[in-house]
């Protein structure tokens, strides 16, 4: 598929295959898209900032469907810190290093004996059971949210990601996408230094 520009799109439309015509002709398509309940707008932004890796300053797209008011702009912070940072820096008030990880992210089933037994501080270091370091990044993500560093990613949303992953083995940012543990870690890593 070729890269198009706005001008090209303006000139296209007639004589195109039906699928292309439908995509280029907005009349009706947006309504159908909206009616399906899948319209969310800007799903994410890869910021172009010299010296920085890809920076994901957006919530997983599926989270936006919870309320249209979430499409309203607001002052956004995108300054997450890594798990390593949180091992050696002051934590936000109200979160104890010695508290169990399960206090932040309730653990059920097999996870009770693994994630459920370690502290919030311990999970920031690699644990044998923490394949792909999901728990490590979830904990850092929670601290970032609590410290106001990631306004687009709330503690509640993180807990839903955890809950869904724990229950189903994946989290769906939108109905057509399933993120497994590795995908979630990639996303969370993009919100951190």
């Amino acid at each position: 598929m070729a890269i198009e520009d706005g001008q090209g799109a303006r000139e296209a439309g007639q004589g195109q295959p039906a699928q292309a015509r439908d995509r280029l002709d907005p009349a009706g398509a947006a309504r159908r898209r909206f009616a399906k309940g899948g319209a969310t707008g800007v799903l994410l932004t890869l910021a172009s900032q010299p010296g920085m890796a890809a920076d994901i300053c957006a919530s997983p797209s599926g989270s936006l469907s919870g309320g249209l008011q979430s499409r309203r702009p607001r002052a956004q912070s995108c300054d997450g810190r890594s798990p390593g940072y949180w091992k050696s820096h002051t934590w936000p008030a109200g979160i104890s290093r010695d508290a169990l990880f399960s206090k932040v992210y309730p653990c059920v089933g097999r996870n009770r004996d693994t994630y459920g037994k370690v502290t919030c501080l311990a999970i920031l270091s690699h644990q044998e059971f923490d394949k792909g370091n999901l728990g490590m990044h979830m904990m850092a993500g929670y601290l970032n949210a609590a410290d106001g560093r990631t306004s687009f990613l709330t503690a509640q949303l993180l807990q839903k990601i955890w809950s869904d992953w724990q229950e189903k083995g994946y989290y769906s940012p939108n109905p057509n996408v399933h993120w497994n543990a590795a995908d979630i870690v990639i996303y969370l890593s993009g919100t951190m230094d």
């Binding site: 598929m1 898209r33 319209a39 969310t40 707008g41 890869l46 172009s48």
Partner: protein
């Protein structure tokens, strides 16, 4: 009573995009960012690229209700696109 806002694509934006299924990536000429958009957002941009439009005119062009949930969604989307320097009031 407030005047309806007339929206346009920000000058300098070429709206270069590459799409598949119901999503596309779009290069932002002003910020250098790359955005992942859904189909509806792209359609809004391409419609405004033809000519500036108010929320109501845009909703009509897109065959959307300009009130209620659809209207609120469209208003939120325009604000979101404005925050990304893709559109602006004119």
């Amino acid at each position: 009573m407030t005047e309806p806002i007339l929206w346009r694509v920000r000058p300098g934006q070429q709206l270069r995009h590459w799409g598949w299924d119901e999503q596309c990536v779009l290069y932002n000429d002003l910020s250098g960012d790359t955005h992942l958009l859904d189909e509806a957002a792209l359609l809004v941009l391409l419609t405004l690229a033809r000519e500036p439009a108010t929320d109501a005119a845009l909703a009509q062009a897109l065959d959307l209700e300009d009130q209620g949930e659809a209207g609120a969604w469209l208003a939120g989307l325009l604000d979101s696109l404005k925050a990304q320097h893709l559109v602006e009031p004119c």
